[in-house]
Amino acid sequence: MRKQLTKKILHQWDNTIPDGLEDRIKIRQSRRGFLKATSLLAASLLLPACDNVNNTSSTKTANSTLLTQAPWQTFTAVQNHLFPKDSESPGADDINATLYLKSVLEIPGIEDADKKFLRDGIGWINGIAIQMFNNSFHELDKNNKEAVLIRIASSSAGENWLSLLLLYIFEALLTDPVYGGNPDGIGWQWLEHKPGFPSPTKDKRYHLLR
């Protein structure tokens, strides 16, 4: 098998290049300049305070309560808009997308800069929501949420942030349930995906192996 060059720094360059589509590769390459764009975006906004993700008091709170607290209520609202539930398929809530993302941010595995980029985005999106509709993102109705996401996606940094959130939604949808997403294989069942075997055990999750 020919291995493609993988991009491990996700906030910097999206890591998936669909095979055979060179025009998309060019699109990816144009995202290289996004770090500059990130700082421009941040400077153009009044950044509202963003709760620290590592706030230990919130990690002790019951999960249901936690999701109503900053920054998780914003992550939850964005994820449910990006990946809504319908009558035939699970949505972000059904696959534990927010709690999964929380675990990604808490355990070793991805670059610290990626984690910071994910957290910082909460400030940007709420900044834009307030600028456009004078309210935090999670308080907006469906149409206004859509308008904010379209605005966010028009900058390369914002698009990259949404793209990263989608990646971790896909992980929550399709990774082994041992990591907290995809409960009872709900994502696999919806997409008729046959997982391989043996499946990972709790004591052999990736961050415990090395």
């Binding site: 291995k3 993988t6 720094i9 589509l21 996401l149 990774t175 391989g196 990972p200």
Partner: protein
């Protein structure tokens, strides 16, 4: 400081055969491996561990590369190169740093080279801008060791006569082919209608149990994954475990060799390494064997200066790191919807587990006036799209114009891609011509976590590689078309696949133009051998692993005679 007969640096496909051969012969062998030691009990079908997190390779902030890519031309026509550290770009050039190396994670497409591959310069003449040379040995010298690898590593397959079949000393493979997917019959039919010769792809995957190793269990996730049954013929599962059983071989994981020290005579005196706790250790041996995979082998030699090696070990002719090879070519895809088949065939096509195992060698050598003069061609292999679900979904989040999708349009697309469509792919492998624009050197500023300069890799390629790649991709597309696939597309480029790498210490008879002699012994360091893919002056147009195994068995016999 302990003494060993042989110290091997690197435990992958280049190290394993030497360790096994010499340990079985009763010599004391130490294998130093930079990474950890995983076993079958640590390997799961876990896409995060395999492919989305850093488990089997280093963190880029700790160990990385600097990649030099083509960046236009100067006014005088010379090329400009842009260097970027991989911790900045995110480009990951590591393959598998653990006991057994990247052979743990290969797909195990195993092909021999052919006799003409050993003498490309004589057969096809010079190509301007390429450093093509004949090998100092011929196919007959390698053949017994290809055969040995079939039995010892465990290669499954079936010989079907075809125009470019290489000579063999045995009639067929020791293991029958692995179970095949129903699509293989459809590929056969289409190829025959086109007067092509479809061939079963030999695999380093057991179709029957061998000693402690189980047969393949057909989970459908093979390439990129560590094997939990032991069926995959990794250096660890197939060779090192047996080497340890002799009682003469010790494997030392978490041992990062940072220097090979050499004495006033130019001989290597010790391998100096950092242990797991970061303390320096030294090991003495009669013979040192380097097999760190091509890029890191060149780097270790370049960094190991000594009284007789002021420019790096075995580098008195300035050849170390030069003529680095990847595999040229590319890949392509065609799509089938389950609806286009009758119910029975649709269900058959949905099967996961059995292998596609089909390839074409009809254009291993090209004799086509439309192409030009007779030329070296390559190999085509058919396979399904990789079953990794997260990366598949993630690849679908953009629409055709490159705009990010979400909501219902995204979910509809996922459902179509996962549940309604089967993707048959092909890969083209052709020679990556050696040139002055593809080599390894040491970077002046970027260092690894131990303070050693990292490898800088210039990634130039020859345009001829693309010409051959396009020719083969066009033939491959004909097969998909004949099968009534839709949305057929392919991509051939000079982008190097980091897992198919060789060269950098090529062997030859002239010390001025090569690093190693025909025995893969350094011209200017008597007790130093290199047994990974570094020795190859030209790469052939197949994945390298079988040739690396065979050559390492060959060199092991040479060392055994010497000891």
């Amino acid at each position: 400081m302990k003494d060993f007969d042989v110290c091997i640096i690197g435990s992958g496909a280049g190290g394993g055969p030497v360790a096994l051969t010499l340990a079985e012969a009763g010599y004391s062998v130490l294998v130093l491996e930079k990474g950890p030691w995983f076993t079958e009990k640590d390997f799961f079908k876990d896409e995060l561990a395999c492919c989305r997190r850093t488990v089997y390779t280093p963190q880029l902030k700790d160990e990385q590369h600097v990649l030099e890519e083509y960046n236009g031309q100067n006014d005088d026509g010379s090329y400009k190169w842009r260097a970027e550290a991989s911790s900045d770009s995110g480009s990951d050039f590591w393959n598998g740093n653990c006991v057994g190396g990247s052979s743990n994670f290969m797909s195990g497409y195993f092909y021999r080279l052919k006799p003409k591959d050993f003498r490309l310069r004589s057969e096809f003449g010079e190509i301007k801008g390429a450093n093509v040379v004949d090998w100092p040995i011929d196919y007959e010298a390698m053949e017994p060791y290809y055969t040995k690898a079939e039995t010892v590593v465990g290669i499954s397959g079936k010989i079907i006569p075809h125009p470019y079949q290489e000579p063999r000393s045995t009639a067929d493979f020791p293991y029958p082919p692995t179970t095949e997917h129903p699509v293989s019959g459809l590929i056969d039919k289409a190829c025959r209608e086109l007067n092509m010769h479809p061939l079963p792809t030999p695999r380093a995957v057991l179709s029957r149990p061998k000693d402690d190793r189980r047969s393949c269990e057909y989970s459908g996730f093979c390439g990129s994954y560590g094997c939990s049954s032991g069926a995959k013929g990794s250096s660890r599962a197939a060779l090192l475990n047996d080497a340890i059983k002799t009682g003469n071989c010790k494997i030392q994981p978490h041992a990062k060799v940072y220097r090979l020290s050499s004495d006033q005579t130019g001989r290597v005196s010790s391998a100096d390494y950092y242990d797991k706790d970061g303390n320096t250790q030294s090991v003495r041996a009669k013979i040192f064997v380097v097999a760190c995979q091509a890029i890191e082998t060149s780097r270790l030699l370049l960094v190991s200066t000594g009284p007789k090696h002021p420019n790096g070990l075995a580098n008195n002719s300035g050849q170390v790191g030069k003529n680095l090879l990847f595999s040229a070519g590319g890949s392509g895809t065609g799509e089938f919807t389950y609806k286009q088949f009758d119910t029975r065939l649709a269900e058959a096509m949905k099967q996961r587990g059995p292998f596609v195992n089909r390839g074409l060698q009809d254009w291993y050598f090209i004799n086509d006036k439309e192409f030009g003069a007779p030329a070296k061609g390559g190999v085509i292999d058919f396979l399904f799209r990789h079953p990794n679900a997260i990366s598949k979904a993630n690849g679908e989040k953009w629409d055709d114009s490159g705009k990010l999708l979400w909501g219902k349009p995204l979910k509809d697309k996922l459902k179509t891609v996962f549940a309604e469509t089967k993707y048959l792919r092909f890969e083209v492998f052709n020679d990556w011509l050696p040139t002055d624009d593809c080599f390894v050197s040491l970077d002046n500023s970027v260092k690894d976590k131990w303070g050693s300069p990292v490898a800088k890799i210039r990634l130039g390629y020859h345009d001829h590689d693309l010409k051959v790649g396009h020719y083969l991709a066009e033939k491959s597309e004909q097969v998909l078309k004949q099968m009534n696939a839709s949305n057929i597309r392919s991509s051939v480029s000079g982008a190097p696949p980091p897992n198919l790498v060789a060269g950098g210490c090529r062997f030859g008879n002239d010390p001025a133009t090569s690093v190693l002699n025909a025995d893969c012994q350094a011209h200017d360091a008597d007790n130093l051998y290199v047994t990974d893919g570094s020795f190859m002056p030209t790469g052939g147009s197949v994945p390298y692993t079988w040739t690396i195994y065979a050559n390492a068995f060959r060199v092991a016999d040479i060392i055994k005679k010497r000891l």
